[in-house]
Symmetry: C2
Subunit: 321 residues, 2 copies
């Protein structure tokens, strides 16, 4: 039985798990992400989290077949220097090199967090048994990953899967990426909340103006909340229809906090998908919530190492390749 | 030296070529497509075209390593029963089976014509040396194909690459596919001409109202022609930006008669791409005209057989796969 250490590096929390080749989680660690700007305390917190997972699994580093990491982007791939957008402590931080030294392992694989959750949902979740999957997260941002012909797709520079920057409103708002009308500019939680606030929506007294509050307001029938969740849902459904036509997908699996906004988000999403996926093969793509919740990223990170034929890659390609 | 017979089955013309493994065309045949509704005359015309190519190359069927076909869709893939939209003579015509019998060959591979031109442009054209290419044709329709990680991508049912049905105007016109706001509904030659006519554009006396006339009018400064070519170009540029973000592409290569409408089409295309491709990796995708012209499809069809590692597939997958 092979076991690996899986790490999930996000702006809100750091997660670790020891995972075996059947996808069982044998031990876990989790801490809030340090918010400072010094790189080493963040790295130390990640190591502490890993140590907790190893202790819980009763595994020592020498037992590990390798280490898989799903980290907030951007990063240089496949070399694994990470610069997570919301974690200023790391800018070009050589995470792969540091972990390889720390654990004396030559199998350390680091990829984008949205790629991790896609692999997790393909290995053990909503995409299991399919060969062509779009995994996506609709949360603080909108990200994604692609399994095509049964294998993880990387693109030219490891950036394949950026479904958040598919254009859904050509004359829409400017996006943080520098583009215009991107899915993320319209359908992320913060952008949806901001638009609702601009239109006059207010959360109840003492309640934060966030996606959870907006979903609660929509569930209670608030018109502005309903309208803005519908716009976000339609944008997601439209983008998925484009992806299904372009890639002949079997499943699109959606995770992320803001995607859990219920029917006021999902019904317009499904309607927009049905409106825009006209070709029979595209209309046949199933659009579903992910099944693994927050564990998706850790299972995917583990699968980078545990299932190399489908999800792995060569992190040290020869020069010129 | 391996030689193959390549066939190009389109609504306007049938083409054939004998191609060697260096991509040299050793013989050619070409006839206008019969327009009747009987299946056999169309098949006989295709065989005559093939015979001309074989004669020109001084090759007999027994010399062939196989037969590659790029055919107008839709089709059942990979079994190769074709129902070309604009060729009512063939509905579920068992083209692969017939050719396999005719030429006593067990290597007959049939794919979509837009996939053929994509493979051609990747093997010997604008995408040579890259690993991630969108090939597309902007003509009577808008179609495409994908090379990802150096290999032809098929999708779940052989339909990957349908870039013509990426959504570019969510509230735009209904598309022939049943969707709404698809690239093809906005940017194909006939749809662009129709829109210009609706707005009052008229070609000169005795001139057909087609894409060539519209491009000529735009070149002469006609406002309606310019406006409508610009809308088509912008739609293409927007869709390519979405594809570049989603797939981390290196090149998008555009062929097809209507794409040869000059700067009134290409400048808005490039502007829209620059506006919408915000992420650096997406902006780095090169958007170029194809290099092979009408030979792209035939070279691609040849490459299905000649370069199986990159462009081939198993046409008889085991049941359950």
């Amino acid at each position: 039985m092979a076991v690996v250490l899986a790490l999930d590096v996000g702006g809100t929390k750091l997660g670790a798990a020891v995972v075996d080749d059947a996808g069982r989680v044998l031990g876990r660690g989790r801490v809030p992400s340090p918010t400072g700007t010094a790189p080493e305390p963040l790295y130390e917190a990640l190591l502490a989290c890993a140590a907790a997972a190893l202790r819980g699994a009763d595994v020592i580093p020498g037992d590990l077949s390798g280490i898989g990491v799903a980290a907030a982007g951007p990063m240089v791939w496949p070399s694994g220097e990470v610069s997570p957008l919301n974690m200023p402590a790391w800018r070009g931080f050589p995470l792969r090199k540091r972990l390889a030294e720390e654990f004396a392992s030559d199998r350390v694989l680091i990829h984008n967090d949205a790629v991790g959750l896609t692999v997790g949902e393909h290995w053990k979740g909503a995409g299991a048994g399919t060969a062509n999957l779009l995994g996506m997260t609709v949360s603080t941002g909108v990200g994604g990953g692609l399994i095509l012909n049964g294998r993880l797709n990387h693109g030219a520079s490891g950036n394949a899967g950026h479904v958040g920057h598919v254009v859904v409103e050509p004359d829409g708002p400017v996006c943080a990426c520098g583009g215009r009308g991107c899915l993320e500019a319209i359908a992320s939680g913060p952008n949806t909340v901001r638009r609702a606030l601009d239109e006059g929506w207010r959360p109840g007294p003492g309640v934060s103006a966030d996606g959870v509050a907006l979903a609660a307001a929509a569930a209670a029938g608030d018109d502005l909340a309903l309208r803005n969740l519908a716009r976000a849902g339609r944008a997601v459904g439209t983008a998925i229809a484009s992806c299904a036509s372009l890639l002949d997908l079997e499943v699109a699996a959606i995770v992320g906090g803001f995607s859990q906004s219920g029917p006021p988000f999902w019904e317009p999403l499904r309607q927009a998908f049905a409106t825009h996926a006209g070709l029979p093969f595209a209309a046949a793509c199933r659009v579903v919530p992910g099944r693994l919740g927050e564990t998706a990223g850790l299972l995917g990170a583990a699968a980078f190492v545990l299932v190399p034929d489908r999800y792995g890659w060569d992190p040290d390609p020869a020069p010129g390749h």
